[in-house]
């Protein structure tokens, strides 16, 4: 604590240290706030705005409409539990990354980071909380899709329960990778439209490039996230598929996640 003798800073206001009965002091305890509270706050922030809530509603609505349409007009023999679940998760694969993006960029585009990062100055933990909150929310949405698909199967499907553990697990893993990719791109660009366009366009551009340029074809197999998740969705992962999944995820998820996190940790919050 400061005393008038050790201070080089001229003081203003109040009473001098010696006169004051008890000087206020900092609360004891480790820096920052417990992680569970940061996680809870970040999860809440993902769904308490109109944009966030509408994202969830649109995902649920799209899944419901696709299921209903398929039951009415689709080939009846394909309407098994697995077929219906694959259909209902189709819009999720596209929209869940957007949820991750919005979670990552809001602090900067709406400048709420001024509050968030003063309440928890250890920004790395905020980033971790955001990633986990996005995954948790995706899990909830996925559970809803599973329930809707089961219901559709009972109501108008074949009544066949043909989901294997490999397909189910693959589906969950693939969706989680896409959510993390969204978070990663959000952190990388810290700008919602740029991140959304990049997530949707860059992988497609890469696919086209690898198809058009023959020298890139071999590399394409290892670095095309959409291609390497195909066997994952199908539940047909073999040895090399896992290796290709790892390399593609490394480039499209881990790398932007690392660079983006570094940006958030070092960027000046204004």
């Amino acid at each position: 604590m400061s005393t008038p003798t050790d201070t080089t800073a001229p003081a203003v206001g109040g009473t001098p240290d010696g006169v004051r009965p008890h000087a206020p002091s900092a609360l004891a305890g480790s820096p920052g706030v417990p992680f569970s509270r940061t996680f809870q706050a970040e999860l809440r922030k993902m769904v308490d705005t109109r944009a966030g809530r509408w994202m969830v509603i649109v995902m649920a609505g799209a899944a419901a409409i696709i299921l209903a349409a398929f039951l009415i007009w689709g080939p009846a023999e394909d309407a098994s539990f697995r077929g219906l679940l694959e259909l209902s998760t189709l819009p999720l694969a596209m929209l869940l990354p957007v949820l991750g993006i919005m979670a990552a960029t809001a602090e900067w585009t709406q400048r709420t980071g001024l509050v968030t990062f003063t309440l928890e100055p250890r920004r790395g933990r905020v980033v971790l909380a955001k990633a986990l909150a996005a995954l948790a929310l995706a899990a909830v949405v996925l559970v809803a899709a599973v329930a809707a698909s089961a219901l559709a199967n009972v109501v108008g499907g074949t009544g066949e329960w043909d989901l294997t553990a490999a397909v189910g697990g693959g589906l969950v893993l693939a969706l989680m990778i896409y959510v993390l990719q969204g978070v990663a791109f959000g952190l990388l660009f810290l700008n919602t439209p740029v991140a959304i366009v990049s997530v949707l366009v860059l992988p497609t551009l890469w696919s086209i490039a690898t198809m058009a340029i023959s020298s890139l074809q071999d590399a394409g197999k290892w670095l095309n996230l959409d291609a390497v998740t195909q066997p994952l969705f199908a539940g047909e992962m073999a040895g090399q598929d896992w290796a290709q999944l790892a390399t593609a995820s490394g480039v499209w998820v881990v790398l932007p996640l690392v660079v983006g996190t570094y940006r958030v940790l070092t960027r000046e919050v204004k």
Binding site: M1, S2, T7, T8, A9, P10, A11, V12, G13, G14, T15, P16, D17, R20, A23, P24, S25, A26, L27, A28, G29, S30, P31, G32, V33, P34, R37, T38, Q40, A41, R44, K45, D48, T49, R50, A51, G52, A106, Q110, R111, T112, G113, L114, V115, T116, F117, T118, L119, E120, P121, R122, E268, V269, K270
Partner: protein
């Protein structure tokens, strides 16, 4: 308490904050006053760990901000009232902060009442808030964790005169309870109402600091008369430094000296007082003229 030691921030060749040092003691409301671009906000961001300083350090309650335990419970911070998600309601903004700080929903309602936001207003989205309401919401967020220190950037901006007096009462009570307040402003009359002590900053450097009274008395004597031109001549003849302001003269002498000269030479005085807002205004302009943007053009 807030302590700033040799704090400096450079952006490339531009020095935004240039080696400033001061300490804000408990029980005081201190105004951080300076023209736009003087470095107030940059300094406050460095105090709260959002901007890394180029050199120097700051502590709050004896610790660097980033090492504080649950900072929201110790330091209330509002750096920009407009930096709120427009899609959240006022109440929701506070509820999210309450989760992070670890205070109850009841405290959220208390904080809303404290800043005079009604139930209906709290349920409105921030998008539909006026700047004055955003300021109140920002102050409610700062007070949420019942901190000992407040750091507020331009909190009176957008408030009507009534609101500014309300804020004075609120901050005064906070300081009387042993709290420490540092608030910034680029408007002298605003900070004069709200703060008791001033730290003036211009182009990144501290140009003056002290109690308002002290700085006011340094501002000389305000005087106006039916014939200011003649009074200036008389004062100059008596070797009393004098300068003109918009509404009269500022004289660097006791009111008595001016009164005696005026009486002897039969000049009709309309106003004669020590300091006053014009005096401080004059000093503020004088102190910052050399360092403000306008100073560049002149």
């Amino acid at each position: 308490m807030i302590r700033v030691e040799n704090l400096t921030k450079r952006y490339g060749g531009f020095t935004a904050v240039d080696d400033i040092s001061f300490e804000v003691r408990p029980g005081s409301v201190v105004g951080f006053l300076g023209p736009n671009g003087a470095g107030k906000s940059t300094a406050m961001r460095m105090m709260t760990g959002l901007t890394p300083p180029t050199s120097g350090r700051t502590t709050i309650l004896g610790q660097p901000y980033r090492e504080l335990h649950n900072p929201g419970r110790q330091v209330g911070v509002m750096l920009d009232a407009s930096a709120q998600h427009p899609g959240r309601t006022g109440r929701e903004v506070l509820r999210v902060a309450a989760v992070s700080i670890g205070v109850s929903k009841a405290r959220v309602e208390e904080a809303l009442a404290l800043v005079g936001l009604t139930d209906e207003e709290a349920g409105r989205r921030v998008r539909n808030y006026s700047l004055g309401m955003r300021q109140r919401l920002g102050i409610a967020a700062a007070l949420l964790g019942e901190p000992q220190v407040l750091v507020l950037d331009e909190p009176a901006n957008g408030l009507d005169p009534q609101g500014i007096h309300w804020m004075r009462g609120l901050l005064r009570r906070f300081a009387d309870g042993g709290g420490t307040v540092l608030l910034s402003s680029h408007l002298l009359h605003e900070v004069q109402i709200v703060a008791d002590d001033l730290v003036m900053i211009g182009r990144g450097r501290i140009v003056a600091m002290g109690s308002k009274e002290e700085l006011l008395s340094r501002g000389g004597t305000s005087v106006s008369s039916t014939d200011d031109a003649r009074l200036v001549q008389l004062l100059q003849a008596a070797d009393v430094p004098v300068s003109r302001t918009g509404s009269g003269l500022v004289v660097e002498a006791e009111p008595r000296v001016v009164g005696e000269i005026a009486a002897r030479e039969s000049v009709v005085l309309l106003e004669l007082r020590s300091g006053g807002s014009e005096g401080l205004e004059e000093m503020f302009l004088g102190l910052t003229a050399a360092t403000s943007r306008e100073g560049d053009a002149a």
